[in-house]
C-alpha cells in the first residue's frame, strides 16, 4: 500500500531518424493510498507510456515518480514492489497456473515454499480459480486466463497494482461482469491501483477518480461525475459520455448565441461568463435535449430539425437529427483526435475499437444526437423542434477550447463527488 506521485513527468521517444516524439508531456498526478485511479484517453494519448514508466518498463525523460515519498526513477522494475496486469495477460505458457502465480513471490521475496503455496491457494480461492491451479494457460478460456493474470498480481500483495487495459480482450458480457468484480476486489484489498483504458465506460464506472489524457497532456483529473458534469474543456466534454456531447459552433452577440439558422439567448449569468468571447461552442448532452413534435410550441430555446434515424435501444431511443439549413456542428476535439498519430505502442492494439468510435464521430459532425425515453415514438424524416434547456448547456471558448460555463445542477449535493 502506498501513495504514488507523478511530478511533472515527461517521456520523449527518439525515433530512428532522430526526430523526437513527446509521448507524455509534463504530467502531474497524485494517487492516494488505496485509491483506484483510471487513466483514460484515446489511442496514442500516452496513458500506457505513463503506466509503463510507473512500472519501470520505460525510462523517465524528465520529472519524478515517487512511491511513498521515495523517488523511484532509477529503481529497476524488479525492485519496485509493483504488480502489473497486461492487456495480453502475459501468462508464462510453459508454467502451470500455480507456477505463474508463485513465480513473482519466488523471485521477489524470500518466502519459504510452504508460505508461497499458502498464499497462492488463498489468492486463487479469492479469484475462483482454485481448481485450475495445475492447468497450463493454454488449457484455459479467455476469462479464466484473465483471472489468473489478476491472481498473479494479487498474490504479490504489492504496493501498487498497475493494469493495462486488462479487460479489453474479453467479450462484452464478461467485461461487464469483470468490471464489477475488479471493483469489489480492489475495495477489499484496498491497494493503490492505476488502471489504463481507452473505454470511457470503464473509466466512469470503475475509477475513484479518472485522469483524462490527450496527446500526452493531462486534460482533467477528477471524480467520474465531476468530469462528466464539469468538463474543463471540449476534449473532456466530448470524450466522457456515450453517446457524446453535442457541439454547435456559434458566435456570441451580446449574450445571444447566433448561428445562421437559429438564435439562442443565454441566461444572464451565463452571458456574463462568456462576455468578451465571440467565437463559442455550445455543448449539450444527448439526454438533456427535449424533442418537441409540435412545432407551433417553438420558443427561444428551440431549434427546428429533421429526424434522420431512430435507434431503439428498448429502455431509450437514440435519435439522430439533422439541423435545418446546415447549422455548424462542431467537434474540434474529435478532429484533433483523428489527427493525433498513435505514438503509444500498447495503444496501437486497441486502435480498432477507436476506429469504430471515429466512424460515429464522423457522422455526428452533421448530426445532433438526442436520447429520449423508450416509450416515445418518432418517425424517420419527421420535422420537429428540439429544445435545449438553458440550465443544461455548456459553453466553450472555440479558440482555447476551455469551458467558460458548465451546466447548472439543481441539486449539486445529490450528486456525490462534485
Amino acid at each position: 500500500m502506498a501513495r504514488a506521485k507523478l511530478d511533472e513527468v515527461t517521456k520523449i521517444f527518439t525515433e530512428d531518424d532522430g526526430s523526437e516524439v513527446v509521448a507524455v508531456d509534463d504530467v502531474t498526478l497524485d494517487i492516494d493510498d488505496g485509491e483506484f485511479l483510471v487513466l483514460v484517453g484515446p489511442s496514442g494519448c500516452g496513458k500506457s507510456t505513463t503506466l509503463r514508466m510507473v512500472a519501470g518498463l520505460e525510462t523517465i525523460t524528465d520529472g519524478e515518480i515517487r512511491l511513498d515519498g521515495t523517488v523511484i526513477n532509477d529503481v529497476p522494475a524488479k525492485d519496485r514492489d509493483i504488480a502489473m496486469v497486461f492487456q495480453s495477460y502475459a501468462l508464462y505458457p510453459h508454467m502451470s497456473v500455480r507456477g505463474n502465480m508463485s513465480f513473482g513471490l519466488e523471485e521477489s521475496t524470500n518466502l519459504g515454499d510452504d508460505e508461497i503455496a499458502k498464499r497462492v491457494e488463498e489468492s486463487a480461492g479469492m479469484m475462483g480459480i482454485g481448481d485450475l491451479l495445475d492447468r497450463k494457460p493454454s488449457d484455459l478460456s479467455g476469462g479464466q486466463q484473465q483471472r489468473v493474470a489478476l491472481g498473479r498480481a494479487i498474490v504479490r500483495d504489492p504496493a501498487v497494482f498497475l493494469m493495462d487495459e486488462p479487460l479489453s480482450n474479453l467479450d462484452a458480457k464478461l467485461r461487464a461482469q469483470m468490471r464489477t468484480e475488479l471493483q469489489r476486489l480492489q475495495n477489499e484489498l484496498d491497494v493503490t491501483t492505476i488502471y489504463v483504458t481507452h473505454d470511457q465506460t470503464e473509466a466512469m464506472t470503475m475509477g475513484d477518480r479518472i485522469a483524462i489524457l490527450d496527446d500526452g497532456e493531462l486534460q482533467q483529473v477528477g471524480t467520474p461525475l465531476e468530469c462528466y458534469h464539469r468538463p474543463k474543456n471540449l476534449f473532456v466534454a466530448g470524450f466522457i459520455g456515450d453517446p457524446p456531447m453535442n457541439f454547435l459552433q456559434v458566435t456570441n452577440e451580446d449574450g445571444t448565441l447566433i448561428d445562421h439558422s437559429f438564435e439562442y439567448p443565454l441566461p444572464p449569468q451565463v452571458a456574463s461568463a462568456v462576455e468578451g468571447t465571440d467565437s463559442l461552442v455550445l455543448g449539450v448532452r444527448p439526454e438533456d435535449i427535449e424533442l418537441e413534435p409540435d412545432q407551433s410550441r417553438a420558443d427561444d430555446h428551440t431549434i427546428s430539425a429533421t429526424i434522420d434515424v431512430v435507434e431503439p435501444m428498448g429502455d431509450e431511443n437514440v435519435v439522430y437529427l439533422r439541423l435545418a439549413d446546415g447549422a455548424t456542428v462542431a467537434r474540434p476535439d474529435l478532429a484533433e483526435q483523428d489527427a493525433a498519430e498513435g505514438t503509444d505502442v500498447n495503444d496501437a492494439a486497441v486502435e480498432g475499437s477507436d476506429d469504430a468510435k471515429g466512424g460515429i464521430a464522423g457522422e455526428s459532425r452533421s448530426t445532433i444526437i438526442a436520447t429520449i425515453g423508450g416509450m416515445q415514438h418518432f418517425d424517420d424524416g419527421q420535422d420537429i423542434s428540439i429544445r435545449i434547456p438553458p440550465d443544461a448547456i455548456h459553453v466553450f471558448d472555440a479558440d482555447s477550447t476551455e469551458a467558460l460555463h458548465n451546466r447548472t445542477l439543481q441539486d449539486a449535493d445529490a450528486v456525490p463527488g462534485i
Partner: protein, 323 residues
C-alpha cells in the same frame, strides 16, 4: 466434403439407371475411389514419392540385404547364403568400437556445444542492435560453405608449424600442440571447427523462436521481480524447448553422417587415430577396402542410430499435431 459430393452424385446417376444392387455398389465403390482425394492427389505426390522412396527406402532395404552376404566389390554378391556374419565381425572389430566411441563423443559434445553457443548468440542478437543483420550474416556465413572448403581453412588454422592456433598459444609460451595429430586432441579440434561452422545454424533456429515470444513476457517477468539471469533461465529459455528439440535432431543426425569434413581434413578415407567415426569407417571399408558387405552392415548400424533419433521425434511431432 468433396468426397461426400462425389458419393451423392454417383449414387444419383446409378439410381436413375436402375442397375441391380451388386453392380451398383461395385460401381459406386470404384467411382468413389476414382473421385477420392487420395487418388486424385496421387499425380502430385506420387512421382516424387516413388523417386525418393526408391532411392531412400528401397536402397536401405537393398543395403540390408547386402549386409547379410559376404560381398566384396567386383566379385558379385551371393544372395543364396544370408547370415549375420558381418555383424558378428563388426562386434569383434576393435576399429568399430573405437569409431563407435568417437561417434558418441562427437554426437554429445558437438550437439551440446552448438546448442549452448547458438543460444548465447541468439540472445545477444535478439534486441535492437545496430547492424544486427550484418552480425547475423557473418555468424551464419560458415554454414553456407562446403565442408571441403572449411576443412581447408581449419587444416591451416591447426597447422602445427604455422597455424594461428599454435601461434596464439605460443604467445603464452605454450605448445606447439599437434591439434590434428595428437589422438587425445584431434577429436576435440574437429568438434571445435564444426561448432564454428554450425553455431550460426542454432542461432538462426533460436532467433526465430525468441522473436515469437511476445515482449510482455519479458516485462511481466521483470515486474515479477526476476533478474535478467532468472528471466532467461526461468521464463525465456523454457519457451525455447521446441526449437531446442528440432535443432538437436538436426545436430545429432549430422554427427552421425559427418564425413566430408573429416575426409577433407585428413586428405583421405583414413582420419588420424582418435578421429575415426562410424561414418568415415563405413565409407573407408567400402571404397578403400572394397568390403561391401561389411560396410553395408556398418551403414545399417548408422541407419538404426539415426532411426533412434528420428522416430521419437516424428512421433512426438505427430502427437503434438505438428505433422
Amino acid at each position: 466434403m468433396l468426397e461426400l459430393i462425389a458419393a451423392v452424385r454417383s449414387d444419383g446417376t446409378t439410381g436413375d439407371t436402375g442397375d441391380d444392387e451388386d453392380e451398383r455398389s461395385g460401381r459406386s465403390r470404384w467411382e468413389r475411389l476414382r473421385q477420392s482425394d487420395f487418388v486424385r492427389s496421387a499425380p502430385f505426390w506420387g512421382p516424387p514419392f516413388l523417386l525418393m522412396g526408391f532411392f531412400v527406402y528401397a536402397a536401405i532395404g537393398w543395403n540390408f540385404l547386402l549386409s547379410l552376404t559376404d560381398y566384396e566389390r567386383f566379385q558379385g554378391p551371393d544372395y543364396s547364403n544370408l547370415d549375420f556374419g558381418m555383424y558378428r565381425r563388426m562386434l569383434d572389430d576393435p576399429t568399430f568400437w573405437e569409431a563407435t566411441q568417437n561417434t558418441l563423443i562427437l554426437l554429445i559434445v558437438f550437439t551440446v556445444a552448438c546448442l549452448v553457443a547458438g543460444l548465447l548468440l541468439a540472445i545477444l542478437l535478439d534486441r535492437e542492435v545496430r547492424f544486427g543483420r550484418g552480425f547475423r550474416t557473418i555468424y551464419l556465413l560458415p554454414m553456407s560453405l562446403s565442408f571441403i572448403v572449411t576443412a581447408q581453412f581449419w587444416k591451416w588454422m591447426y597447422n602445427s608449424q604455422f597455424g594461428i592456433i599454435n601461434e596464439f598459444f605460443g604467445l603464452f609460451g605454450l605448445g606447439p600442440y599437434g591439434w590434428l595429430s595428437n589422438p587425445d586432441l584431434v577429436l576435440f579440434s574437429v568438434i571445435f571447427a564444426l561448432v564454428w561452422q554450425f553455431s550460426g545454424y542454432t542461432m538462426i533456429v533460436y532467433l526465430a523462436a525468441l522473436r515469437a515470444i511476445p515482449q510482455d513476457q519479458y516485462e511481466a517477468a521483470r515486474v515479477d521481480g526476476a533478474s535478467t539471469l532468472k528471466l532467461y533461465w526461468r521464463v525465456i529459455i523454457p519457451q525455447l524447448k521446441p526449437a531446442m528439440v528440432s535443432a538437436s535432431v538436426v545436430l545429432l543426425l549430422f554427427s552421425l553422417k559427418a564425413f566430408d569434413f573429416l575426409f577433407a581434413l585428413f586428405d583421405g578415407y583414413q582420419p588420424r587415430k582418435g578421429a575415426d567415426i562410424l561414418s568415415t569407417m563405413m565409407v573407408r571399408e567400402a571404397f578403400a577396402r572394397s568390403q561391401w558387405a561389411y560396410s553395408s552392415a556398418i551403414a545399417i548400424v548408422l541407419f538404426l542410430l539415426s532411426l533412434a533419433v528420428i522416430a521419437p521425434y516424428l512421433y512426438q511431432q505427430h502427437r503434438q499435431g505438428n505433422l
